[in-house]
C-alpha cells in the first residue's frame, strides 16, 4: 500500500521536477528517472497482487464526491498494472535516448512532465475503486497523452492527428461521465459504495431505474473508443503514429488496454445478457479483420503498427465476448477461458507492440524515413533493431515459441470448447471467433512478412536507408529487454494463464479448476516448442562452430541475367500487399491505380497505392452535417450580456416554477 502511494507520489513529483531545470539533459534525466523509479515502486504491490489477493485499500484523506477516493489492487488490476509499469519504465529509458536528438530544438521539461502524469494516470485507472477517481484518472490520461501525441506540434499532420484524438477520446469520455455519475454508480459496479449513498443507490439499481444494459452500452462506447473498437477507434491509426515512438509504444502497448480493462470490469461485475456477448463478438471480430486489412493497406511502418494494434484489440474483445456469452449461458468454462485469453493476449500484445514501436522508432531515428517503400536492407546496418523487430513480428503473428502463439491458442481452444459444449447458443459465436482468429493470424503473418522484408531485407531503396545507423544504447537496451521477454512469455504462458484464472476466480468461481486442463495443454506446447527451439539453437551453434576457421565468402546472388540490377526492382510493400489489400478494399478504402502492361513492347507500367480511411471520412462527413444543422443555434449566441442574463433568469425561474408546481 505504501509502495503504491510512493509510486504515485514519485510520478507526480517527478513531473514537476522535470519542469524545473534549464538544462535539457538534467530535465530528461530527472523525468525519465522519476518514471523508472515510480514504476519500480509500483511494481512491488502489483507483483504482490499477482501472487496473492491483497486486502488493503489506499484511501485519500480528502474523499472526492460520490465515493471514498480509494485505490486498491486486486488480481485483475495487478494483471493489467504489472505489464503496464514494465512497459512505461522501458519506454522512459528508450524515450531518453529517442528525445536526445531534439536537444536544442525543444524543451525537455514538458514531454517528461506529461509522460510522468500519464504514468500516474494509467496507474490510477487500473487501481481506482470509485467512479470519480476513475473518471479523474481517465481524463488525466486522455489529456496528458494528447499533449504527448502533439509533441511535434510544428507539423500540421501531427496537429490534425492530435485534434482527432482529442475529439474521439472526449466523445468516449462523455459516455463514461454518464456511466460514472449515474445514480447508483460505483466502480467497479456493485462494489465499494459510499456508506451514506449505498442505500438509495442500491434501491435505484434494484428498482431498475438504470437497466444494466444501459450501463453496458455506455461502457462499450466509453471504454471501447479507447480500445480502438471498430467504428469508434478511428483516432487510433491517426494518433499513434503521430506520437514520438516511446509514447506510441505506451499508447499502443498500455493505453489501449485501459479500454479492455473497463469492459472486462463491467462484464465481471454485472450479469451479462447474451446480446452483450454477441455485440462484443461481432464488433471484436469486425475490429480485428478491419485492423489487419487496414494494416495491409498502409505505406508507413508506424501507421501499419497502429492498425495492427486495432486488430489485436479486436482479438481481445473477441475473447471478452466469448467470455460474456459463456457467463450468460451458464458455461463457466468458456467464460473463464474467454476472459483468460483476453488477459493473456493483453499482456503479450503489450510486450510485442511496444517492442515493434521501439523498433519503428529506431528505424525512424536511424534513417529519418517513415515510408517503408523508401527503406530496405536496414538489417545489415541496424542489426539489433532488425533482430528485435523479427522477434516481435514472430510474436504478433502468433508463431511459436513467442507468447502471441500461446494467447491465440487459448482463444482458439476457448472457441473449440464453446463448439463442443452442448450449449446451442455458443455455437455460432464460437465459429465466428475461430474464423476471425484464423483469418487475422494469416493476414497478420502476411503483413509482417511484407513489413520486415521491405524494411530490413534486400537492398536499400534510398539514400536514407543506405546511411542508416544503429541507435544509441539507451534505445537498444529496452528493445533487447523486451526481445528477451517475448520468448520467455511464450515459455511462461501456462503461469500467465494461471495468474489470469486466479484473478478471475472471485467473479467466476471455479475458474482455476476449470482452466487447469488448458494450462496443462499450454505447458505441453511450451515444452515441445521450447525443446524444438533449443534444438534449433543448438544446430545454429553447431553450424557456427563447424564454420569457424574456414573461409566464408559472401557475394551477390544469381542475378537472373540482369546486367544492371537496381534496388527499384525489388518488391515494395505496396506491391507485395496489393493482391490481399485489393480483396479488402471495401473495408479499408485503399484505392490503388494499376497500369497494366499492354502489347508486345509494354511502355511504362506501374501501381500506385493510396489509402483513405473510409470510417474516418464517414465521421468527418457526419460532423460536418451536424455542424451545418446546428448553424441555427447560432441565433442564440447574440453576444449581448442582456440576452445571456435573460437566458439564465428564464432558466432559473422556469426551474423554480417546475419544482414548486
Amino acid at each position: 500500500m505504501i509502495f503504491l502511494a510512493a509510486a504515485l507520489a514519485t510520478f507526480l513529483l517527478g513531473a514537476l521536477a522535470a519542469l524545473l531545470p534549464r538544462s535539457y539533459r538534467a530535465a530528461s534525466a530527472i523525468g525519465s528517472g522519476a518514471t523508472v523509479l515510480g514504476c519500480l515502486l509500483g511494481l512491488i504491490p502489483a507483483a504482490q497482487g499477482l501472487i496473492a489477493p491483497q486486502d488493503w485499500k489506499l484511501t485519500l484523506a480528502w474523499p472526492p464526491p460520490w465515493g471514498l477516493g480509494s485505490l486498491a489492487i486486486d488480481g485483475i488490476s495487478a494483471l493489467f498494472l504489472t505489464p503496464a509499469l514494465v512497459l512505461i519504465a522501458l519506454g522512459a529509458v528508450y524515450g531518453r535516448g529517442y528525445l536526445a536528438a531534439a536537444e536544442g530544438r525543444k524543451k525537455a521539461g514538458p514531454p517528461w512532465f506529461f509522460y510522468n502524469i500519464l504514468a500516474a494516470a494509467i496507474t490510477g485507472v487500473f487501481t481506482a475503486r470509485d467512479p470519480f477517481l476513475l473518471l479523474l484518472s481517465w481524463e488525466t490520461m486522455a489529456l496528458s497523452s494528447y499533449f504527448l501525441v502533439c509533441m511535434e506540434d510544428g507539423d500540421g499532420a501531427v496537429r490534425r492527428a492530435g485534434r482527432i484524438y482529442l475529439v474521439a477520446s472526449h466523445l468516449g469520455a462523455a459516455c463514461l461521465l454518464v456511466l460514472c455519475l449515474l445514480p447508483g454508480a460505483a466502480w467497479p459496479p456493485g462494489e465499494g459504495l459510499a456508506p451514506g449513498l449505498a442505500a438509495n443507490m442500491a434501491a435505484s439499481l434494484a428498482s431498475g431505474v438504470v437497466p444494466a444494459g444501459v450501463l453496458f452500452v455506455l461502457a462499450l462506447i466509453g471504454f471501447g473508443s479507447k480500445a480502438g473498437l471498430a467504428p469508434l477507434g478511428v483516432w487510433l491509426p491517426e494518433a499513434h503514429p503521430a506520437a514520438p515512438s516511446h509514447v506510441s509504444a505506451v499508447l499502443s502497448g498500455v493505453m489501449i488496454k485501459t479500454g479492455v480493462y473497463g469492459i472486462l470490469r463491467i462484464l465481471l461485475a454485472l450479469n451479462p445478457a447474451p446480446w452483450w456477448g454477441w455485440t462484443l463478438v461481432l464488433l471484436g471480430g469486425g475490429t480485428a479483420v478491419l485492423g489487419v486489412a487496414g494494416a495491409l493497406a498502409q505505406g508507413e511502418l508506424k501507421r501499419l503498427l497502429a492498425w495492427s494494434s486495432m486488430e489485436n484489440a479486436g482479438l481481445m474483445l473477441l475473447g471478452l465476448g466469448l467470455g460474456a456469452l459463456g457467463r450468460a449461458s451458464g458455461a463457466p468454462l468458456v467464460a473463464a477461458l474467454g476472459f483468460g485469453a483476453a488477459l493473456v493476449h493483453m499482456v503479450n500484445h503489450g510486450v510485442f507492440k511496444s517492442l515493434l514501436f521501439f523498433c519503428a522508432g529506431s528505424v525512424l531515428h536511424g534513417t529519418g524515413e517513415r515510408r517503408m517503400d523508401q527503406l530496405g536492407g536496414v538489417l545489415g546496418r541496424m542489426p539489433v533493431t532488425g533482430a528485435t523487430f523479427l522477434v516481435a513480428a514472430l510474436g504478433i503473428c502468433g508463431l511459436p515459441p513467442m507468447g502471441g502463439f500461446a494467447s491465440e491458442l487459448v482463444l482458439g481452444l476457448c472457441a473449440v470448447k464453446g463448439l463442443l459444449l452442448p450449449v446451442q447458443s455458443l455455437d455460432i459465436p464460437s465459429l465466428a471467433t475461430l474464423g476471425a482468429l484464423v483469418l487475422c493470424a494469416g493476414m497478420a503473418a502476411a503483413v509482417f512478412v511484407g513489413a520486415f522484408g521491405t524494411v530490413f531485407l534486400g537492398a536499400p531503396r534510398s539514400d536514407a536507408a543506405s546511411h542508416a545507423h544503429e541507435s544509441p544504447p539507451a534505445m537498444r537496451g529496452p528493445m533487447i529487454a523486451l526481445a528477451v521477454l517475448a520468448p520467455l512469455l511464450g515459455l511462461g504462458a501456462p503461469l500467465l494463464l494461471e495468474a489470469a484464472l486466479r484473478a478471475l476466480e472471485p467473479a467466476i468461481p471455479g475458474a482455476q479448476a476449470l482452466g487447469a486442463p488448458t494450462v496443462a495443454a499450454l505447458a505441453t506446447a511450451a515444452w515441445v516448442f521450447g525443446l524444438l527451439f533449443a534444438l534449433l539453437a543448438g544446430l545454429f551453434v553447431l553450424r557456427r562452430a563447424l564454420l569457424r576457421g574456414r573461409d566464408v565468402r559472401t557475394g551477390p546472388t544469381w542475378d537472373c541475367g540482369y546486367a544492371a540490377p537496381t534496388a527499384r526492382i525489388q518488391y515494395t510493400y505496396s506491391s507485395f500487399a496489393q493482391p490481399l489489400a485489393d480483396m479488402f478494399h471495401v473495408l479499408t478504402g485503399s484505392t490503388g491505380t494499376t497500369t497494366r502492361p499492354r502489347g508486345l513492347f509494354p511502355a511504362r507500367t506501374g501501381y500506385a497505392a493510396e489509402t483513405q480511411d473510409r470510417i474516418l471520412q464517414g465521421f468527418l462527413a457526419l460532423f460536418t452535417f451536424i455542424n451545418a444543422k446546428l448553424e441555427a443555434m447560432h441565433r442564440l449566441q447574440q453576444g449581448q450580456v442582456h440576452v445571456y442574463v435573460l437566458y439564465i433568469a428564464a432558466t432559473l425561474v422556469g426551474l423554480l416554477a417546475w419544482g414548486l408546481w
Partner: protein, 213 residues
C-alpha cells in the same frame, strides 16, 4: 417588531416599482441606497435582539449599501457623463406592467414555498422574489453599464432579504459572504465601466456585441 419588518418589506416593493418606472439613474441609485438602509435594519428587527453581532452586521450593511456603494456609483456616473437611461429595451410603462406581473408570480411562488421557520413574516418570500426578479429584469432590459450594476445590487438586496430574516443560525456567514460578493462586484464593474467608457466613449453594454467571437 413584525409589523416594522413588514413595513420595510412594503417599502422594498415600492422602491422596486420606482426602479422600474424611472429613467434617471441617479434616482435609481438613491432607491437602492434606501433599500440598503431598510435591509440593514432587518437583522435587528427580525428576531428582536440587539446582540453585538447583529448590531455589527446592521451597521456594516448600512454603511456599505447606504453610503459607500451609492458614493462609488455616483462617482462612476459622473466620470462616465451619464445621467439617464435612454431607450431601454423595454419601455417604462411596460416595465411597470412587468412589475405587476412579477409581483403576482412572486406571491404565487411564495404561497407554494414552505416558510423557513416560525417568526418569519408571510410577506418575506414574495417580496424577496419580487426584488430578485426586478433586479434580473433590470439587468436584462437596461443598456447602460451603470444601470446594470444598480440592478445587480437590487438582485443582491433580494437575496439579502431572504438571508436577513430567515437564516437565524448561519446569518453571519451568509451575510458576510453576500457583502463581500457585492463589494467585489461593484469594485470590478466600477473599473470595467471606467475602462469601457475610456475605450469606446460610451458605456452601452449592448454595443459590446462586436466582441463576440
Amino acid at each position: 417588531m413584525l409589523s416594522l419588518v413588514e413595513l420595510i418589506l412594503v417599502g422594498l416593493v415600492l422602491t422596486n416599482l420606482v426602479l422600474l418606472g424611472t429613467s434617471r439613474i441617479g434616482l435609481c441609485i438613491r432607491m437602492v441606497a434606501f433599500q440598503g438602509v431598510g435591509l440593514a435594519l432587518l437583522p435587528l428587527l427580525g428576531h428582536g435582539e440587539f446582540t453585538p453581532t447583529a448590531l455589527f452586521i446592521s451597521g456594516a450593511t448600512a454603511l456599505l449599501k447606504g453610503w459607500i456603494f451609492p458614493l462609488l456609483l455616483f462617482r462612476s456616473l459622473e466620470s462616465a457623463h451619464v445621467r439617464a437611461e435612454v431607450e431601454p429595451y423595454v419601455g417604462y410603462s411596460n416595465s411597470l406592467l412587468f412589475g405587476v406581473a412579477a409581483l403576482a408570480i412572486s406571491v404565487w411562488l411564495g404561497s407554494r414555498m414552505p416558510l423557513p421557520g416560525s417568526g418569519v413574516p408571510q410577506l418575506l418570500t414574495p417580496v424577496a422574489f419580487f426584488t430578485i426578479l426586478v433586479g434580473l429584469f433590470g439587468i436584462v432590459t437596461r443598456r447602460k453599464a451603470v444601470s446594470q450594476v444598480v440592478n445587480y445590487l437590487v438582485l443582491e438586496n433580494g437575496i439579502f432579504a431572504f438571508g436577513a430574516v430567515a437564516l437565524h443560525k448561519a446569518q453571519f456567514l451568509v451575510e458576510m459572504g453576500i457583502l463581500l460578493d457585492v463589494f467585489v462586484a461593484v469594485f470590478v464593474m466600477g473599473i470595467a465601466i471606467f475602462r469601457i467608457n475610456r475605450e469606446f466613449d460610451h458605456i452601452d453594454a449592448d454595443r459590446l456585441a462586436l466582441l463576440k467571437e
